[in-house]
Subunit: 159 residues, 3 copies
């Protein structure tokens, strides 16, 4: 077993949970760990490009799901005290005041540190999200791929 | 330590989280892993038989809790976009279109693959759920039993 | 690796999730394990003193956040069926009937068993919670400190 490997399943698409996942991931990478983040279900929304991408071949329900879910970090909601979007704005404001990295900066830092972003193909299918709607550099894989990485890691979290 | 053992605590009773737990569990079992799922609090609802079971000796509050909570997979709600039950129906419909296994099929497959289902006695007590209200083949145990299994596993998730 | 070490990230401030975290932590400590609980975001609320503490130097937004969040275990909400506070009261009542330890008793027991409570400085900053607002004996640390502990543990959960 390699003690320098970590995996995080990002199931939640709540701003606060996604933020926590990236803080842990960046912290581990800064300590020299090899980190894989596996985005599934609502967590996929954090990786969506903010602009609308036209994709052929979606069913009506897939289109409906995709349309109702937030596109990208800027639209994610807080799990509590969201207040119609005022909560996340307040959070972001305090973060700036306190010189805490923003979620976008954390994602950028994660990429620079070589953290691996993988997205679950099955939940992409169910939620109607196509690979071209995700930010660049995301590998789309199945659960077996996650399990292979988790087997080699010493810390595996489900967020 | 046995790298071929996994445990998942299913705390949540949200359809999407329970579904994710069973996808991971089945994937691990398919790769030859020994998997234990520990159902506690709301997660117990996923193991309830769909029909009402008459049980003696419940207090009024236990009865009230049990009555307000969903009985079985078909009644579980989505953690987001539930829309009074329309969300889960949409999910299930897309899953069928995409040939993704349903939650019931995943549970069936989990049993066939020998995944161990254990239920937390303490939360059963608090939530007023009796062993006879759960589907067959569920062992009711305490937290020490979970910890014993987790000590032997290399991946332990809390869902 | 030391199989007798466990860490739990308490991200959630929901009564039921915090309760589950303390049941697992106390169970592990009772089996001789060395346990660290890392409180972050909403989980910090479980460690707040119930009385209002005057702290200088908070910004307006930090004050607003701190004021809107529950102070201490008695004010935590259920993740489901909260019913404006009636849900937690029902839970606590059944727990008493069933001789299940209360959350306060679990916290007390955790301290007596030497479970280490650490709080995440970054989320304290963002949420406007000062060290003096937390119960005694909580160490305030960064994510690197958590990661150092997790590296030595064989079970690491995110609640």
């Amino acid at each position: 077993m390699d003690t320098s490997k970590k995996t995080i399943i990002v199931f939640s698409g709540d701003f606060d949970r996604v933020f926590a996942a990236f803080v842990i991931a960046n912290g581990a990478a800064a300590m020299g760990d090899d980190v894989t983040m596996f985005f599934t279900f609502w967590g996929l929304n954090a990786l969506r490009k903010p602009e609308k991408i036209k994709v052929d071949g979606k069913t009506g329900l897939q289109k409906a799901f995709a349309a109702m879910m937030p596109r990208g970090t800027d639209k994610l909601k807080l799990s509590h005290m969201n207040f119609g979007g005022a909560g996340p704005r307040m959070f972001k404001h305090v973060m700036k005041q306190k010189n805490v990295m923003s979620l976008d900066e954390l994602i950028e830092s994660a990429r620079e540190q070589g953290i691996k972003f993988v997205a679950c193909t099955m939940s992409m299918d169910v939620m109607g999200i196509s690979p071209e709607e995700l930010i660049d550099g995301v590998e789309c894989v199945g659960v077996a791929s996650y399990l292979g990485e988790a087997d080699e890691a010493n810390v595996n979290l489900f967020v």
